[in-house]
Amino acid sequence: MSVEANSTPVPREAAPRRRADVAASVQRLALALAVPVVLAIGWELVVRAGWSDGRLMPPPSRIWQEFEDLSRNGELLRHTLATLARVAVGFGLGTAAGTILGALAGYSSLTRRLIDPTLQGLRAVPSIAWIPLFILWLGIFETSKVALIAVGVFFPVYLGVMAAILSVDRKIVEVGRAFRLSGFAMVRRILLPAVLPAYVVSLRAGLGLGWMFVIAAEFMGASEGLGYLLIDGQQLGKPAEIVAAILAFAVLGKVTDALVAITAAPFLRWEDAFGAQHGAA
């Protein structure tokens, strides 16, 4: 028998290992929170001590108060849901279009030569520049906002999917060919799993841009949404409201991003990557 067959298998999922994992993640969380918590407490003390009146930069207690006020009358929920709905629809549309066109451009060189130059040209246009046109075309209500977000999401997803398909290892594709896979079977059994890690990254990039563009969309005249809260806070001179809205954006952005990452994680456990051993999440 070979030498390698004699090596003892490493026990997987052993109990002591798990406890160490929990301790490690608690430590990681504590480290992640250290900077914002120290800054917040520091500012609170500065204002309490009277060194600053905290009018332009309200202390955490006043921001918390603002959150409570907004929550009590249901305003926070209403604005959050409005923004979330726009991002969800725009992200969905942009992802669908980006995935389909990116897959076509990656898979067929004719399609790529046909559509890629045009799309790359359009990608060079700063997306905010579309706002006047979208308002003329689609009106000032939901449609134009969703369209803007979809455009923002589309490009990173399109580019990510196309590049990922083009960079799939030729040798792996040849394995598919040797097993007589073609067309849809090749896409489903070889290309799709091979591009999944890169696809998840492009989805996260797209989602980040979606959150960016929802503010731009809501700045262009909205009666609800977190972007509206920002404008409202500016016009009425309520910095606490602005900071509260910014914090809400931060939380929503982080949570939705984590949702995408967590949803994808079970499909990516096979990855043999640098990050897998170094706790990047």
Binding site: M1, S2, V3, E4, R177, R180, A194, F267, W270
Partner: protein, 263 residues
Amino acid sequence: MLALDHIGKTYPNGVRALDGVTLTVAPGEIVAIVGGSGCGKSTLLRAVSGLDRPSSGTVTLDGTAITAPHEKIGIVFQEPRLLPWLSVAHNVGFGLEDRPKPERNARVKAQLDRVGLTDKATVWPRELSGGQAQRVAIARAFVTRPEVLLLDEPFSALDAFTRADLQDHLLDVWADAKPTLVIVTHDVDEALALADRIIVMRARPGRLYEEIVTDLPRPRDRQSAAFDFAKRRVLAALDRSLDRKVATDDGETKTSAGAALWW
């Protein structure tokens, strides 16, 4: 019966990789193809597999022309080429997707058993050593029960111990159904350990040059005098294929020079 009839391959840049290669391989026969680098031996194998089309000539298996990958022809590459997102068992069962699940599971299990990796069925390919991964690739090729199995320098990336071990594994698994094996290698010992017939190729353009019937009893003893004698014949043929002048008729000098330099 696998039959190659005047196979030629000219690349778009004008390089004639193969010219008029004619060869028949009987069912169950093990043929090794050796030759200097650039002699077209891998090109030949890819033409037989249907992955590439020859520029001229035909490949037929039992009278059917091979123009694309065929279900009766399996291939093992130089690298294991396992799909990293599938467990070892799913990699082995990759070519059995169309079979009912119980049959697939049973055949995968039996095949993993044959290459001695039953305990690795559920792990990811990244957790395997190089030798283990190539054993999985061999299991993946055998599990579909091909009539012809092509191997393109399958063990060249492995260390000497693992290589000899895998050659034994290969013969062991081959003995189950005795498919035709065509193995491209640059390792003369490997060709002698495995093959019934060794074909020496010559480059520019790639063509068959000499054929040596090994005629050694199995299992083969790599230390036997007969093995050593056959090895000298193959090395001498390789030297001739490279137009290398052999100064004396002293077999010893000839083989040592050849063994060191031919590839």
